[in-house]
């Protein structure tokens, strides 16, 4: 049997909630009291469950709160819904799908007193539960898979975030953790891949890659990020205070910019996806690296013995000749210890370099090395262009910029670099993500990259060789080949100078030390590189001595291990120190107002400066924000969460404006119930599933959606919940239900989004019709609607027509419009036509005779036994179609199926 959820008794829950609130108050000092004159900002307290007269109706405390209100107004709750309606309702609400015939039969036959509760547990344990509830969250956070604007670029791998939300709901991640990981999963001490993926929430907004004002657009993006978080997590209409103090709520412009400051250190959206180590890969890598290093050192030891013996056997004349030979092909050498503050001396031919910034000297491999701290570099003449080798030692603890999935040398940070933008004959060696060394030549772009992990504070030897005759380029680190490739065979003369410790065109500089930079005018052989890397006596002259040794063969066979990675679209900050936050007058980034300290909005119990603890790579600001938002005594967080769960079970929140609890929003219809649910959520380990279960097992939820004249006269909006409100299925539910009815629905979860067929008329509206959409195989196209690609500039017509959320802004409450174009789509559209065909085929296969087929069809769309009058009506249609319109049985049945898919009963939920 399926596991049941841990539901503490009501008494235990009440005690637990009280204890939590008391503990939080003790930990954080005085209970937060913001704008105590507004209900939403008052401290969260556990209300008493009210006494009611008709206590027999009450199944759990939810009902007591609702019934107390009804009794005050002289109303009585509607009768309980019948079993078919109830099963249909709860199955849609918890999974977004209709119940299957077997599920209906089992429930109707189950006479045990907890039959319904067992259904609820089954549905909550279904993996489809997360698919349904993820969509509600994704609406709030603006989930889309493209950037919008002219190019409407794809947001690579953003679907991992969608899958993360599904998984989080299915695993019932405690709600506080759910929020914290999205806000600041990357700042956790040892983040898992999933924690990084969760921060994809900040990458969902519209993004113009060609903005008219780049800095302003970056602030517009940050505004979207901060405002979305505030509305979704706190129901605070924060964005209204961007240009001026909030008109209605006590939220100042300074507080807005202070809140924005928590996100201000984020790198802008234009950064691409990056490769991060899969969980456990770093540990595996370190083990492999230790094995590799040991094997390399063993081999090197043998080489050293042989080279030393050969050197010792030479006389002085031989040694001088050897040294001359070793230096014969060196065209420039910058050993590091010679030079002034402004010059770097070339020992070979006086091709001195110019220092920019504060290049200092520190003890190196030999003599002194050059130390760079990110804003200094050296410019030297480009002394090579044909065949060459560039050799040096490098030492750093800096991880490097860029992403491991894009190791083109010019996306890194220059070590010895001559990059020129465009397709030109250039070359360079750079430091890249996770301590990689990368190199390459241009026209065509040709790259070689080492494995990661060189940012270990140890000296590493680098050699980049290029042979002009063959075009072969090779990169060696510590004497071991990292990779080779074949590039062009022309002189590489795109630039006349090279830059050391920065990319040639500019950008941030390298952080670390360089020593013994030398340029050779030929491609060194592997043995020569090994001799240099391991500082064998005689340098390159030792090469013939070692080349034939078994140890050298072993060395050549070694490959530095790599880290297994996965690509994610997550956030990163600029570093540990975030920028100061300022008021931006009228929301204009260029109009700096007064400086503001980072603080949380006073109305929600903030006010005092936030305590922020930076880490090496991140400011820690979002962690501070997450900790504040997820405080158990936060006045908004838990109310907002409980209200959203309520909203999607009852068709509206206790507060209808579920993302605005301020004065421009609606008042709660049941304020005590809201507080009780909020404290209950806390007491039950922040389990959303426990809250779902509580709500859908209440007598309130089980009411029928019947009309009552008297109640309607007293309470036309059903504010008091005297019945259950009928609702139209959502766009996704309609499409998924059609596919489920015809038997086509593919319940596979996760992975990249799919592309159901798109009408060519819709494609024609794109500026590049041929590239606007993809083409998924039929089984993939029949996946649930959550997995349909969300493209900002091209909407899937069925989903858009039935009011799928516009993703440019947060959408807490969807429209539910009724319009004739929906009818056209459902009557004439290719999808509707095809599905009616398949529906008919299913009926022909599963039932004998038109009568039985029509009855089965009715049962499949209504999830209740077919009624004789309904069946008669459809049979009469079939009969007319045969008689008057020349249709055969199969064609008539297909048209009956089309009618069924268009029936109100199919798209509305009692």
């Amino acid at each position: 049997m399926l596991p049941t959820l841990p539901i503490p008794s009501i008494v235990r829950a009440a005690a637990a909630a009280a204890a939590l609130l008391a503990a939080a108050a003790a930990q954080h000092g005085a209970a937060p009291a913001g704008g105590a004159d507004w209900w939403a900002y008052r401290p969260l307290q556990r209300p008493e469950v009210p006494a009611v007269r008709a206590a027999g109706w009450v199944r759990n405390p939810v009902d007591a709160f609702v019934l107390a209100g009804l009794e005050r107004r002289g109303l009585t709750p509607a009768r309980e819904a019948d079993r078919h309606a109830l099963l249909r309702r709860v199955t849609y609400d918890l999974t977004g799908l209709p119940p299957t015939a077997d599920e209906i039969a089992a429930f109707v036959a189950d006479v045990s007193p907890d039959a319904y509760e067992m259904v609820v547990d089954r549905l909550l344990a279904s993996p489809q539960h997360g698919v349904k509830w993820a969509q509600h969250w994704l609406d709030c956070v603006r989930y889309a898979e493209t950037d919008g604007y002219e190019r409407d670029r794809k947001k690579p791998f953003i679907w991992r975030y969608r899958d993360w939300v599904v998984d989080a709901f299915n695993a019932d991640l405690p709600y506080g953790e759910f929020l914290h990981k999205q806000l600041a999963g990357d700042e956790l001490p040892d983040p898992k891949v999933a924690d990084l993926v969760a921060t994809g929430v900040h990458r969902l907004g519209i993004w113009d890659d060609e903005p008219t004002d780049r800095e302003q657009h970056r602030y517009d993006d940050l505004d979207g990020v901060a405002d979305t978080a505030a509305r979704t997590m706190l129901a605070l209409s924060l964005g209204c205070a961007r240009c001026h103090d909030h008109k209605k709520d006590p939220l100042s412009q300074a507080e807005y910019h202070s809140f924005l400051g928590f996100f201000e250190n984020l790198r802008p959206q234009e950064q691409n996806a990056r490769a991060v180590p899969v969980d456990g890969a770093r540990e595996r890598f370190e083990r492999d690296l230790a094995d590799y290093t040991a094997a390399r050192d063993d081999a090197t030891k043998a080489l050293r013995v042989a080279a030393t013996a050969a050197w010792d056997a030479m006389d002085d004349g031989g040694r001088i000749a050897a040294a001359k030979r070793a230096l014969a092909d060196v065209v420039a050498s910058y050993p590091g210890e010679r030079g002034s503050a402004s010059r770097l001396i070339d020992e070979v031919a006086g091709q001195d370099g110019r220092n920019s910034g504060q290049v200092v000297q520190v003890p190196g491999v030999f003599g002194q090395a050059l130390r760079f701290d990110g804003d200094d570099h050296v410019t030297v003449p480009r002394v090579v262009s044909g065949s060459f080798s560039i050799t040096f030692f490098v030492r750093s603890e800096w991880r490097g910029g860029g992403s491991g999935n894009d190791t083109r040398w010019f996306t890194g940070t220059g070590l010895v670099d001559g990059e020129v933008p465009g397709i030109v004959r250039d070359f360079g060696v750079a430091w890249h993500s996770d301590g990689r060394v990368v190199a390459g030549t241009g026209d065509p772009e040709t790259f070689v990259a080492s494995g990661p992990g060189h940012h270990d504070g140890q000296w590493h030897h680098v050699a980049f060789t290029r042979d002009q005759q063959t075009g072969r380029i090779a990169l060696y680190v510590d004497g071991v080949l990292s990779g080779d490739a074949t590039g062009n065979k022309k002189p590489l003369e795109a630039t006349s100078e090279l830059t050391i410790a920065r990319m040639h065109p500019g950008g941030r500089g390298f952080v670390g030390d360089l020593d013994e930079i030398a340029f050779h005018d030929r491609a060194l052989a592997a043995a020569e590189v090994a001799a240099l890397a391991h500082q064998l006596p005689g340098g390159v002259v030792a090469a013939p001595v070692i080349a034939e040794l078994p140890a050298f063969a072993q060395l050549r066979a070694l490959r530095r291990p790599d880290i297994e990675t996965v690509e994610v679209l997550a956030v990163q900050e600029h570093g540990g120190d975030g920028p100061e936050a300022y008021v931006r007058l009228r929301g204009n980034v260029h109009s700096k107002g007064p400086k503001v300290s980072l603080a949380f909005p006073a109305l929600a119990g903030g006010g005092a400066p936030a305590e922020v603890v930076p880490t090496q790579h991140s400011s820690g600001r979002r962690t501070a924000l997450a900790q504040w938002i997820t405080r158990p005594d936060h006045v908004l967080t838990w109310r907002v969460a409980a209200n959203r769960v309520f909203q999607h079970h009852f068709g509206r929140g206790i507060v209808r404006s579920s993302s605005d609890f301020g004065r421009l929003g609606d008042q709660p219809t049941h304020p005590e119930l809201l507080d009780w649910l909020a404290t209950e959520l806390l007491a039950r380990g922040q389990s959303l599933k426990a809250l779902h279960r509580l709500l859908v097992t209440s007598a309130t939820y089980r009411m029928a959606s019947t009309h009552d004249d008297k109640a309607a006269a007293v309470d036309p909006q059903n504010d008091g919940l005297w019945r259950f409100d009928r609702r139209r299925l959502t766009a996704e539910e309609i499409r998924d239900s059609i596919l489920a009815t015809t038997g086509e629905l593919n319940l596979e979860r996760g992975g990249p989004s799919v592309y159901p067929p798109m009408p060519k008329e819709v494609l024609a509206t794109a500026s590049r019709p041929d590239e606007a959409w993809g083409d998924s195989p039929p089984a993939q196209a029949a996946r649930r609607s959550l997995y349909v690609h969300v493209k900002r500039s091209l909407a899937e017509p069925l989903l858009a027509g039935f009011d799928r959320a516009d993703t440019d802004a947060s959408c807490p409450v969807r429209f539910a419009t009724v319009q004739p174009t929906q009818a056209l789509t459902m009557l004439n559209g290719d999808f509707a036509q095809l599905q009616a065909q398949r529906f008919a085929a299913r009926l022909l296969q599963q039932a004998q005779g038109l009568d039985a087929q029509v009855r089965l069809g009715l049962e499949l769309v209504t999830q209740r036994p077919a009624r004789a009058d309904d069946a008669q009506r459809l049979l009469a249609l079939a009969s007319d179609l045969r008689r008057d319109h020349g249709r055969d049985d199969a064609q008539a049945l297909q048209r009956v199926c089309l009618v069924l898919l268009n029936a109100n009963e199919f798209v509305y939920l009692d």
Binding site: E150, T212, H707, S767, R768, N902
Partner: protein, 488 residues
Amino acid sequence: MASIQNGFCGRTRREFLWQAGGGFASLGLTDLLSRDGFFARRDGLGVAGGEPAGPLAPKAPHHPAKAKACIFLFMYGGPSQVDTFDYKPKLYGLDGKTIDIATKGRGGSKNQGRVVGPKWRFRPYGECGHHVSDLFPHVARCVDDIAFVHSMYAESPLHGSAMLMMNSGKILSGAPCLGSWVNYGLGTENQNLPGFVVMLDQSGGPISGAKNWNSGYMPAVYQGTVLRPSGEPILDLALPEGMTPREQRRLLDTLRQQNEAHLAARPGDTDLAARIQSYELAYRMQANAPEAIDLADEPEHIRRLYGLDNPRTEDFARKCILARRLVERGVRFIQVYSGGNHNDHNWDAHGDLVHNHEKHAGDTDQPVAALLTDLKQRGLLDSTIVVWGGEFGRQPTAEYAEGTGRDHDSAGFTMWLAGGGIKGGIKVGATDELGYKAVEKPFHVKHLHATILQQMGLDPNRLSFFHAGLAQRLVGTEGAEPIRELIA
């Protein structure tokens, strides 16, 4: 009776009231709470009696409207003002000379530029004597009905954001378009046709596609409907292959009976009733829309007037005739694109200016002039506002070291309006003597929008939609006045 769900699309009550109240601000009900009560009694949708009480039901304007309809001829890509309607005699003599001029465009900010002299000769036309280039010999003859605004400016010299600005008033994506605002404010007169229609270029949509006729944070019912000038005019309008209208009627009768039986057991649910009604509307739309695009009954002299008989102008002629037919049938807002896709498929003349503008002007000049003439002779020009222009203009200087291509210019460009209570034979504002920047009476795009709304009976500073805690307006929170000089 209305439940909140029935009332307005599941929006919160307050938002729903604000939305419903948008068209009624003229009643002077400034206090939100008093509106609550008022609109609750009016069933939320602002229409007393009659069917259908949908969000597109006709609504009273704020003030008597001069224009019932608007035809927006969108010259996507950005036509060059100094080669079309903004006569700059000094530029001819400077052709090829490099001068000091601060410009901003796709290629960034520059302080110098090589002047490209206008490639066409300008001549004075009409009683007003307005100068028009030889690109538009037909439109030139209509100048006495046209008001030129030479001092337009926009916030972005880049297509993506500039298109959004011209269509929705914002460079940030997500706001409803002008046509959505008009339909939200006024509803539609003909329930059998969409109230906001877009006709795209044969080469494809403009960049950002549907965002250019999207309803943003408003319900999708207010978004533009793409109308194809031949074949199946609206998506899914045509009956499926093999189905006859009579057969479909038979299907719909069963569907209605089925739904009515369902409704009978659920009395008082207006949503269910509205959905039943929507199938009847759809059925009527199937009959009406093809009739609207069927040009068979257009007489020969009309076909010739528009250039329907000339392969060069045929496509745009068909769209212009359609625009007139839609106006005749009560469609509020019609947008016709000249240019689509990328590069020289639209007015974006970065390379060869002559080749580009000869093509697009040649394809559209006669149909556009015919539209004005035809509307006028039918007495429709008085109540139809016609707007011509792109998302920005083009610079007087060259973009590249060689060639005649011009970069984008959002600092100053020309748009023109005609009809719908707009004065004819006038010009407003001016660019500098080289035609780069609006210097005399500069008008932001929002002033153009304000003018259109004003003429259609809507107060641009009062027409609002409550979203995300703010009363959002097409003309922005700071508001904008119409261009008074244009209004007759």
